[in-house]
Every structure is written in structure tokens, then in C-alpha cells.
């Protein structure tokens, strides 16, 4: 009984809290400069500056090149993953799709197909794989976590069926050279242009189109989203298909960068991608997150890993840092929230004793 009482009064204080806060909410520039994404970007800048000052070999084009080449697969897959997690779903099969694409590409090329057709077909396989996820999740309505654990095994298994434990390595040298080439003396990989285009497409899609706004609505409440006329199933289907497409591109990149098509390419990458996306401020419950935040999150993990490796810190610490960053990034906001709520409810009790009494009476 006492439990019920405190709960209703809590609800009342929380609505009056939002009402009281609304005019005080940050607007315009302040909102952009103090938001969660901006904080991630500041942390990234501070990290880069710190490493440049303390590590003699960090601030060089070589660093930029290797760092970006290392993060490109994660950065690519993180884009559709961000959108999917914002709708409250998840896709664990992305790394397996990349592996399957790599295997198909290898077998087609080894079988004598010309490289352009092989590339197109293998990316097509990736799209089909994503659409299969999309069908099961969006059309049939199965839980995405369970479905994509299943397709994680299935697609990786199909990669094994396609290529076995062989590896195909003799890709056209001019193509593999292109995938590791840099733009002039900047050290930025040429492929980065394509990656930026992908980021821009997903950024615009999420932040500047009705489709994107709909994704946030779905993440908050699927029912409500359907009632306001959002095509939940159709939109989700296309999200998974796009996830398959981008995972396939990452698989192609992986194959040609290392010049090796194997069934176990990119295995285990799904958890790295999800860790980076969550670090970038996307809520696992959906409804919250942004592309700039995720890009900063991916680059932050990449930068720290690279710097620690340059500083001869063993890989051991790298894994711990990734895990700790992830936990800190989610625990900190909830601690701040708890403190804020505590301070606020204390003030409410001091200033407005009659309001909470009223609330209780009406409830």
C-alpha cells in the first residue's frame, strides 16, 4: 500500500518536473554545444590532443592512415546499427554478413568471374541476407535479438559452406592497392571518401527526414508510432536491408584491404560495433541517439586503442579500456540523473509542500 502511494506521488512530481523544466531547457546553440554528442566530441578532441602531445609518433599522417583503416569497418556498420538500435531493435548478424560477403566474393573471383560482377553479386548477397533479417523481424514480428543470434550462426555457417577453410588472396593488385591508398600526403585513406558519403546518407536520413523522425517515434512506442501513421514494419524491413548492404560493403573492404577472402573475416565484430554505438550515446532501449555522437564514439575507441598500442601498452589493457569506457558511459548518466532527481525532489519538498499534497489527493 505504501509502495503504491510513493509511486503515484513520484509520477506526479515527475510530470510537474517536466513542466517546471520546460522553459529552462537549453535552446539553440547552447543545446548543441552542451549535449551528449558534443561531450563525446570534446572527449575525442581532448584524447587526440593529449596523445599528440605525449606520444611522439602519434601526430603523423601514418597514424591517421592506419587508425582510419582500422576503424572503417566498425564505422561503416555502426551507421545502420545506430538507426536499428534507435528503433529499439538490434542486429547481431552484421559481422557474419560481412564474412559471407567476403566468402562469396572470394569464390566468385577464384571461379574466374570478372571483379566488377563478383563485387556486385557479393554485395547483393549481403542485401539479401539483411532483407531476410528484416523479413523475420519486421514482417513476421519475431524478437530481433533472438532472430539475429540465429542468423549470426546461419550466415557464418553459409560462409563456411561457400568457401570452406580455403582463403582466396590473389585479388587484382591495383584494386587492393586502391583500398590501402591515401589521399595525397594527408594520410587519409581514399576509401574514407566513400565512408563519409555513407555517414552523410545515414546522418541526413536520421536527422533531416520524416523517415528518421519516425525511427525515434518507433523507439519510444511502436503502438503510438503506428497510430500516427508510421509504417513500422516497412521502415524496419528497409533498415535491416540497408544494414545488410553496409555490412556487405564492410566485408568487401575487409577482403580487399587485407587481400584475403576467408570465412572467418570480421568475426566477433558485432559486439565491437554495438559497444561503439552505445558509447556514442545511443540508448539500447531505442528512441535516443545521433550519428555525430556515434561517429565520435567509434573514433574515440579507435584513437585510444591506437594510441595505447603506439605507447606499447599491451592488447590486454585495450580490451579492459573498451569495456570500462562502455560501462562508464552508461553508468555516469544514470548517476547524474539520480543526483538531479534527489536534489530536485528535496527542493520540491521545501518549496511546494502543497503541490505534492494536492497531487496525492487527486491521485
Amino acid at each position: 500500500m505504501t509502495d503504491t502511494d510513493t509511486d503515484t506521488s513520484l509520477e506526479v512530481t515527475s510530470t510537474s518536473q517536466t513542466l517546471a523544466r520546460q522553459p529552462k531547457g537549453r535552446t539553440g546553440l547552447a543545446r548543441i554545444l552542451l549535449g551528449r554528442d558534443a561531450v563525446m566530441i570534446y572527449v575525442l578532441i581532448v584524447a587526440v590532443l593529449l596523445f599528440t602531445l605525449t606520444l611522439p609518433r602519434f601526430g603523423s599522417p601514418v597514424t591517421v592512415g592506419f587508425l582510419l583503416l582500422d576503424v572503417i569497418p566498425v564505422l561503416l556498420i555502426a551507421m545502420p546499427m545506430t538507426l536499428i538500435i534507435i528503433t529499439g531493435e538490434i542486429d547481431l548478424s552484421v559481422a557474419s554478413i560481412a564474412g559471407l560477403t567476403s566468402a562469396v566474393l572470394g569464390v566468385l573471383w577464384a571461379g574466374g568471374m570478372d571483379i566488377a560482377t563478383a563485387l556486385l553479386l557479393s554485395v547483393g548477397v549481403g542485401i539479401l541476407a539483411g532483407a531476410f533479417n528484416g523479413f523475420l523481424v519486421a514482417v513476421v514480428g519475431l524478437p530481433s535479438l533472438a532472430v539475429t543470434i540465429g542468423t549470426l550462426a546461419l550466415f557464418r555457417g553459409l560462409a563456411l559452406v561457400v568457401i570452406g577453410d580455403n582463403a582466396v588472396a590473389n585479388f587484382p593488385p591495383e584494386l587492393t592497392a586502391f583500398f590501402t591508398s591515401k589521399i595525397g600526403g594527408t594520410g587519409i585513406p581514399t576509401v574514407m571518401i566513400g565512408v563519409v558519403v555513407v555517414i552523410a546518407i545515414f546522418g541526413v536520413l536520421l536527422h533531416f527526414t520524416p523517415f528518421g523522425r519516425g525511427l525515434y517515434a518507433m523507439g519510444f512506442s511502436k503502438e503510438a508510432a503506428r497510430f500516427v501513421g508510421i509504417h513500422v514494419a516497412r521502415d524496419k524491413f528497409w533498415l535491416y536491408a540497408s544494414s545488410g548492404l553496409v555490412a556487405a560493403l564492410a566485408g568487401v573492404f575487409w577482403t580487399l584491404r587485407y587481400s584475403s577472402a576467408r570465412s572467418d573475416n570480421a568475426s566477433g565484430l558485432e559486439l565491437t560495433v554495438i559497444a561503439a554505438v552505445l558509447l556514442g550515446g545511443v540508448s539500447i532501449f531505442g528512441g535516443k541517439g545521433s550519428i555525430p555522437g556515434v561517429v565520435a564514439g567509434v573514433l574515440l575507441i579507435g584513437t585510444i586503442n591506437y594510441a595505447l598500442r603506439l605507447g606499447r601498452v599491451s592488447d590486454v589493457v585495450l580490451i579492459i579500456v573498451t569495456g570500462a569506457l562502455l560501462i562508464i558511459s552508461v553508468v555516469t548518466p544514470s548517476i547524474i540523473d539520480a543526483v538531479k532527481r534527489w536534489v530536485h525532489s528535496r527542493r520540491m519538498r521545501h518549496e511546494l509542500p502543497q503541490a505534492s499534497a494536492l497531487g496525492k489527493a487527486s491521485a
Binding site: P143, G150, A153, E223, L271, I284, V321, A324
Partner: protein, 344 residues
């Protein structure tokens, strides 16, 4: 997937009362599939069920069964623990270290230390999830990395081999009792104890209530935080047990022991009919799921199916299990609607 209030009414299957006979019925398809698989393989290749073949089958399943039982406790509360593979690795390496550094240490003491170690690691997960109120998927993804990192730091390039451990310890995985390997009997005992706890004990029933609707469970007066913490703690203890048994079963333990196991475990539970959004499922089902997944690998080998097909078939099996679940839930929902209409 967390203990906080959240609307999953459309994505989660329609909730059933897990104690009703319908839900108990849910283990039947898995059991039938298992029996059919074993029979078919046996007819094709009688060596499959030779004493040695059966023993290998059971040994392979043992560790996965124990982990799947622990994972079920956590999934029923609408949480998940991805860090079990890393916990298993740490405890397995710890077991190797104990035998190497403390010569003549009694085996029961090693078991106790392993269980306590696993329990402590599980308790860290449980505390972070319940006190900080952060989704379990995120927390345990973080501790998956952290525990694995600690294991790497501790082990470095070092590995302990079967020769470093006393012969009696290794024989746990060799000796049989009534045809069952000793460590498999331990796993069966775990399944029975946890099944009775979930079906009979008040706090066990609470786990289902929490998974079905955390907010309602809280209003009902169930100490949600404490129960979820308990589920993570038990899962840690069981992962610890699995770690010690891993050291008994396998030749070497090192920095990478147990890597990538987490999704297999969740898959075993899902195949066994444990709903990924909590509130339904049983440890018997999860154990059958684990047995089915490990048996299929051996069966395909016995049937001389190309080994490369194995993983794809496992994937198909997981998807089939989810679809069966969905169909069962739809049927139950329709039946409930009909019976309600008749009552009105």
C-alpha cells in the same frame, strides 16, 4: 531486457502463465527433435550410440548445459548476461593456477574457490545492473571485455595443461557412474536443483513475475532488485562451476578459454524455449536445447555431412525454435481469447 519499466507488448510474445500445462508442453518439440535426431543418426551409423559415443555426446554437452541453466535464470527476469564466456575463462585459468601454485590442494576446495570466484564476478554484473539501473545487455557487454582483459593480463601467454593437474581431477571427466561421466551427473544435479527452485520456491516464481512485467512485480511487492541480483549471482556461480569443470574436461586453459561462448549459450536457451524477453521458459528446456545443439554437431559428423554445413544448420535450428515459439504463443493467445469470450 532490463528491470526498468518498458513497453514491449508488441515485440514480446503474448505472455503465458509459465506454470500452466501449455508452457510445460513447450519442451516437447525440443525433446522430440532430440530423440528423432539421435534415432536417425543411430540407424544410419550404429557407432553413434556406442558407450564411447554416448559418453562423448554427454561430455560435450555438460558445460553448455550448466551455462544455459544459469543464463535461463537471468533471461527469465528479462535480462541477459553476455559475460559468461569471460567468467568461465577466468575461473578455468584460476583453477589451473591453483593446482600449479598450491600443490596438493584438495579438489573440493578448488571447487569452492571456483564457485566463489564465479559468484563474485556475477555479483559485479548484478550490482551494476540493479544499483545503477543500466540495461544488462550493455553492462555485461562491458564486463565481457573487462573480464576477458583481466584474463589476458593474468595469463599472458601462459597455459596450464592437463599434466599440471592431479589425475583425480582429470578423471572427473573420464570416470563414469552407470554410464554417465561424473561431470555430466553434476550438470544433471544442477538442472534438477534449479528446476525445483524455479517451480517451487517463492523467490523462483518471483523471477517469472519480474520477467513478465517488472512494473507489476514491483507494485506487487516483489523485491525486484534483490531477485535480479540473485539471478546474476547464481549465473556467476554456475559459470564458475562450468569453469572448474572446463579445466577438468579440456587439456589446456589459457587467456582465450571460453571466448565467443556467450552467444552459443543464449542460443541454447532460446532453442530450449526460453523467451528472450523474459517471463517464460524452463531450465529443463534450456538443458535440452543445449543438448540438441551439441548433439547436432556430433550427429552431422557421424552422418558424414560436410562439416562446413554444421554451423548453418545450427542457425536454421535457432530460427526454427523462435518460429515454433511464436506459433505456440499465437495459438495460446487465440485459445485464451476464445475462453474469455465464452466466460463473458
Amino acid at each position: 531486457m532490463s528491470s526498468t519499466v518498458r513497453d514491449t507488448s508488441t515485440s514480446a510474445p503474448v505472455r503465458r502463465r509459465p506454470w500452466s500445462s501449455l508452457a510445460r508442453f513447450r519442451e516437447l518439440p525440443v525433446a522430440i527433435a532430440l530423440v528423432a535426431l539421435v534415432l536417425f543418426t543411430y540407424i544410419q551409423n550404429p557407432l553413434f550410440l556406442s558407450p564411447q559415443g554416448t559418453k562423448d555426446l554427454l561430455l560435450n554437452a555438460t558445460i553448455i548445459i550448466i551455462l544455459a541453466v544459469g543464463q535461463t535464470l537471468v533471461i527469465i527476469t528479462r535480462n541477459i548476461d553476455l559475460s559468461v564466456g569471460s567468467i568461465l575463462g577466468l575461473v578455468a585459468f584460476g583453477t589451473g593456477t591453483l593446482f600449479a601454485d598450491v600443490p596438493g590442494i584438495p579438489i573440493p576446495v578448488v571447487f569452492l574457490i571456483g564457485l566463489a570466484f564465479g559468484g563474485a564476478l556475477g555479483a559485479v554484473n548484478g550490482l551494476l545492473v540493479t544499483v545503477a539501473k543500466v540495461p544488462a545487455l550493455v553492462i555485461t557487454l562491458g564486463t565481457l571485455y573487462i573480464y576477458r582483459g583481466l584474463n589476458n593480463a593474468w595469463a599472458g601467454g601462459k597455459q596450464y595443461f592437463a599434466g599440471d593437474r592431479p589425475a583425480e581431477f582429470g578423471s572427473l571427466a573420464v570416470d563414469t557412474f552407470l554410464g554417465f561421466p561424473i561431470i555430466t551427473l553434476i550438470a544433471v544435479l544442477v538442472v534438477v536443483v534449479v528446476a525445483i527452485y524455479l517451480a517451487g520456491a517463492r523467490s523462483g516464481r518471483d523471477l517469472y513475475a519480474i520477467g513478465s512485467d517488472p512494473a507489476a512485480a514491483r507494485l506487487f511487492g516483489i523485491p525486484v532488485g534483490r531477485r535480479v541480483f540473485l539471478a546474476f549471482l547464481c549465473n556467476g556461480v554456475l559459470a564458475g562451476l562450468a569453469g572448474v569443470l572446463y579445466a577438468a574436461r579440456f587439456n589446456s586453459v589459457g587467456a582465450t578459454t571460453g571466448t565467443g561462448m556467450e552467444l552459443d549459450i543464449v542460443a541454447a536457451a532460446v532453442v530450449g524455449g526460453v523467451a528472450i524477453f523474459g517471463g517464460s521458459g524452463s531450465v529443463v528446456g534450456a538443458a535440452l536445447g543445449a543438448l540438441l545443439l551439441t548433439t547436432i554437431t556430433s550427429a552431422l559428423t557421424a552422418l558424414r555431412v560436410d562439416k562446413f554445413w554444421q554451423q548453418a544448420i545450427v542457425g536454421v535450428l535457432i530460427l526454427a525454435a523462435i518460429i515454433v515459439d511464436r506459433l505456440a504463443a499465437l495459438r495460446t493467445a487465440r485459445r485464451l481469447r476464445l475462453s474469455e469470450a465464452r466466460d463473458d
